[in-house]
């Protein structure tokens, strides 16, 4: 638990930084191919991140595409450091823009919550029953996350999944560290309350 407060947790998990840096340099010199290699390297991670924030496949896809367009346009502003974190920051901002737009124009709940057409891919050795359980667990979790206020959901995902520390989240979201902590703790309690009936499923 204590290690969660360490600074720069997000960057500690960043493999292939040297390759990323080289690709960015080439992309800054005008190589579209280099930029697209970056996209290929990071698109799954970015999509997974945005999907947790915006639990709708199509909207998450749009947000990732917007983020990558924005990254391409702003390549010249990249000042070193982790490319993965830089792209993640842009993707989180795109996701938050989408959330704000949804707030302004409240429409249907996230349609993905009703969609049971997909199952997580198995690796060949996984039992079908385990696969089904994992799918069910994810669906339940996505539904519970989607019901959280977006601010709490963002903080929890960035902290638990992306491994950002409080300071990084605060900078990213433009709020104070205290607010980040409060949102995470309140979000945890709300998530637990929502998932209480499915406790056994989650403990699997």
């Amino acid at each position: 638990m204590a290690d969660k407060c360490d600074a720069g947790r997000g960057e500690a998990r960043d493999p292939g930084r040297a390759l990323d840096a080289a690709l960015v340099e080439q992309a800054q010199e005008g190589s579209l191919e280099a930029f697209n290699q970056l996209v290929v390297r990071h698109q799954d991670h970015l999509y997974a991140l945005v999907y947790r924030l915006v639990p709708d496949r199509d909207q998450a896809g749009d947000a990732v595409q917007e983020a990558l367009f924005s990254a391409y346009r702003n390549l010249s502003t990249f000042r070193g450091g982790s490319v993965r974190s830089w792209l993640a920051r842009i993707a989180v901002n795109a996701a938050m823009d989408l959330q704000r737009a949804r707030k302004r124009r409240p429409s249907q709940p996230y349609p993905e919550l009703e969609d049971e057409s997909w199952q997580p891919a198995g690796d060949g050795t996984t039992e079908p029953e385990d696969l089904s359980l994992a799918g069910e667990r994810s669906r339940v979790l996505v539904a519970a996350l989607a019901r959280l206020p977006a601010e709490q959901r963002n903080c929890i995902v960035l902290f638990d999944v992306e491994g950002y520390d409080y300071g990084e989240i605060a900078r990213l979201m433009g709020i104070s560290v205290g607010t980040v902590k409060s949102r995470i703790h309140r979000g945890r309690v709300a998530l637990r309350t929502a998932l209480e009936p499915m406790r056994e499923l989650l403990r699997g």
Partner: protein
């Protein structure tokens, strides 16, 4: 899972447990939370739930991404033409609009704001003045009338408005003018011995604080006045000529920028192509 937690657990703070899970407790709070987890089975289960939910969130299966996000040459060309995203704040506005149009926008905004503010002030000034007139009309003794207008002092039962027109008000309405009373409470009291005795010396008037409105002959203290300050709105109204001018000037200049700049651009581009 215990669906009916022990009564003692109901008093336990789950937020404290969440903070314990986040590693954000120290001192007495940390001790208390640890004690709760050790002594209460439900609290221990809550902590385990936080752990399980966090682990499940990380391990959550994500549906396959709907498409490939690589950028095509045509998109890249379009994005390069658009250039970097505009900067936020003032620099962003200036870089987005260009310095001249940013200046025009800010001047127009300042002009509109100024005109609206002055309009609001003059409207409130008029309201205050008319309230005072009604109060004067409702005053039975006529002393207030004498303060406000020497003409009125001569004929207390025929109250006049500031323009001299007679405006009889039924005495029964006096109690209804609470706002006038409130305003009267805020209006400076006249100097002792001045009420009912019109005073001529203009030098003294000028020396009275807030008497500049009366000195300019606004009619409030017409006929000599008593040195009583006019309502703030009216004072502002009489002094606000240059402000009105500045407001309209800003608005006109801003509007001009919006008209002139596109025209110049059109002419330049027409000259370039011709």
């Amino acid at each position: 899972m215990d669906r009916n937690p022990a009564p003692s657990h109901a008093a336990h703070d789950e937020l404290l447990l969440a903070r314990l899970y986040g590693g954000d407790l120290e001192g007495r709070e940390l001790e208390r939370a640890r004690e709760m987890v050790i002594s209460c089975r439900e609290c221990a289960a809550v902590l385990a739930d936080f752990e399980a939910i966090a682990a499940a969130t990380v391990a959550m299966s994500i549906p396959p991404r709907p498409r490939d996000f690589t950028i095509g040459p045509a998109e890249a060309r379009a994005l390069r033409q658009r250039g970097p995203a505009p900067k936020p704040g003032l620099r962003g506005i200036v870089s987005r609009l260009g310095p001249v149009r940013a200046l025009g926008t800010s001047m127009t905004a300042a002009g509109i704001a100024g005109i609206l503010a002055l309009g609001a002030i003059s409207i409130s000034g008029q309201t205050a003045t008319s309230s005072i007139d009604y109060r004067q009309a409702a005053e039975p003794g006529g002393q207030e009338l004498a303060i406000g207008s020497p003409t009125s002092a001569q004929a207390p039962n025929a109250p006049q408005d500031k323009n001299g027109a007679g405006t009889p008000a039924p005495s029964g309405e006096a109690a209804d003018w609470a706002s006038a009373d409130t305003l009267a409470a805020q209006t400076p009291e006249p100097n002792p011995g001045e009420s009912g005795s019109p005073r001529a010396p203009a030098a003294d008037d000028g020396a009275q604080p807030g008497a500049s409105g009366a000195a300019t002959g606004s009619g409030y203290a017409e006929g000599g006045g008593t040195g009583e300050a006019p309502p703030a709105g009216q004072a502002a109204g009489s002094d606000s000529g240059p402000l009105w001018l500045a407001g309209f000037g800003c608005l006109a200049a801003g509007g001009l920028v919006f008209v002139v700049v596109p025209t110049l651009r059109r002419r330049r581009s027409a000259g370039g192509t011709g």
